[in-house]
């Protein structure tokens, strides 16, 4: 693979694209939101189960390109079991990383996976693909009604 593309499409990212984790509806979710990227038509639905300030389960449906699908998949793995405060911190870190700031994730194997998206910030046209699931997660958490869009 061309080296510049290998940096974007890392094997772990492609693995999550080909075999997305937690891609299913969560029937007992108590927070949900839909996200939409009108530029490419990508659509994601996030389901959260929050119990006593802990994200006890998180799943998604939909997706689209490799980056948006893998981002949603890795996100679900990252957030499960986190407190709401931790989840919001992670969201901020991911956002900082995707907008080109240097971020060090803790020695948590699930969090370290997020670094697979560190190359995305060099592709401005693709940053929204990676942030879609996260913005939708934030909307679900805040229980904003309606659909989130990247525009």
């Amino acid at each position: 693979m061309m080296p510049e593309l290998a940096d974007l499409y890392q094997e772990l990212l492609l693995d999550h694209y080909r075999r997305p984790r937690n891609r299913r509806r969560l029937d007992d979710a108590n927070h949900t939101a839909e996200g939409h990227n009108p530029l490419c038509g990508d659509h994601v639905h996030i389901y959260l189960k929050v119990e006593e300030d802990v994200v006890t389960d998180v799943t998604f449906e939909g997706g689209g390109c490799a980056i948006s699908t893998a981002s949603a998949s890795v996100m679900t793995e990252t957030l499960r079991g986190k407190t709401l405060a931790e989840a919001k911190t992670i969201f901020k870190q991911v956002h900082a990383m995707l907008t080109g700031q240097s971020v060090e994730f803790r020695e948590d194997p699930h969090l370290r996976k997020l670094e697979v998206f560190s190359g995305v910030c060099r592709y401005p046209a693709r940053v929204k693909c990676a942030t879609l699931a996260w913005h939708t997660f934030e909307a679900a958490l805040d229980e904003k009604r309606g659909t989130v869009t990247t525009e």
């Binding site: 061309m2 492609l14 490419c40 659509h43 689209g64 390109c65």
Partner: protein, 422 residues
Amino acid sequence: MTRTTATQPAPPPTAAAAFDPYRWRADFPALAQEIHGRPLVYLDNAATTHKPRPVIDAVQRYYERDNANVHRGVHTLSVRATERYEGARAAVRRFINAPDSREVVFVRGATEAINLVAQSYGRTHVGSGDEILITGMEHHSNIVPWQMLCEQTGAVLRVAPLNDDGEVLLDEYERLLTSRTRIVALTHVSNALGTVNPVIEMARLARHAGAAVLVDGAQAVPHQPVDVRALGCDFYVFSAHKTFGPMGTGVLWGRAELLDRMSPYQGGGEMIRSVTFEKTVYAEPPARFEAGTPNVAGAVGLGAAIDYLDHVGRCAIAAYERELLAYATERVQAVPGVRLIGTAREKASILSFVMEGIHAHDVGTVLDQMGIAIRSGHHCAQPVMQRFGVPATCRASLALYNTREDIDTLVYALARTREVLG
């Protein structure tokens, strides 16, 4: 001199054989650059075309020498600017074989032209329970203005469906034409599928049913001769920037007897004959529809683009592109996992496709790294994507300066894409 639909006879093969795209390509400065270290292969012409040197020069020369407001002053620069502006209008008249320059209205683009017709013609000719008929392959710009008109008037939007090749089902179209149909709006060439609609036949049926016919020519004029009289439509619209001219300029052509009876779209300077606080008398078309200072440089640039196309030869362009599209179709179709979206018998310029298991956006990113510009997305035609059950497609769209070499590079890159993302 020309007819422009499915009924157009195939140009003689010699026309395409004699065409040298490398000669014309040299006229386009933006094409001579590298992207990520590789020569640019520009295949996003349906989004916008690049501009040849004579167009860039004409715009620059206008600002360096002739710049002034038009139809206003008696000073020399104003006279010159007015001559340039009206000269461009005359060039557009010839370009589409319109009967009269007064039928040529300069607007911002095809989108504004359609909105103008919807609001000016539509608001006075369409009422509650009336119907507006479009096709299933329209660009959002030929859907949304009519939906807005329907909301305002209580009219109903009807849509003629497509077959699996991306052609309008003509018997369905004919069935949907009723005594309630006031306006038929259809694209000449589909931006998402490449389908060339049989406009002459469709316009004839529509007018027989008593409807006015608007044709969106944005994707047609860069690729083939257009004759609005032969098409038999009432309105024809296009954008300068998709036909080698500047952004921000477009054309509405309308039959004089319709324009004469239409109300202004916007109020302001230029569009009046006399103003008092009690009453304003509107100017005759086209000034009636050109409120405010127009984009004179844009019109001048469009005029230069038209001269350039005439110089290259529009029949020769059509013949060359027909051959290039056939080559591209054959080569791209042979790439494993590629499925074409839009396989109409009559097509122009556009190759829309999906790659099995790979999203169009990822294809677009990989191709960009190899210097190739295509469009990936829904092409402002979401209903077309829904019709074919895909979220997005990759679209390679050709222009007169594209070569077989460009297609070969694309095909090579698509194979590499499968290696990267397969």
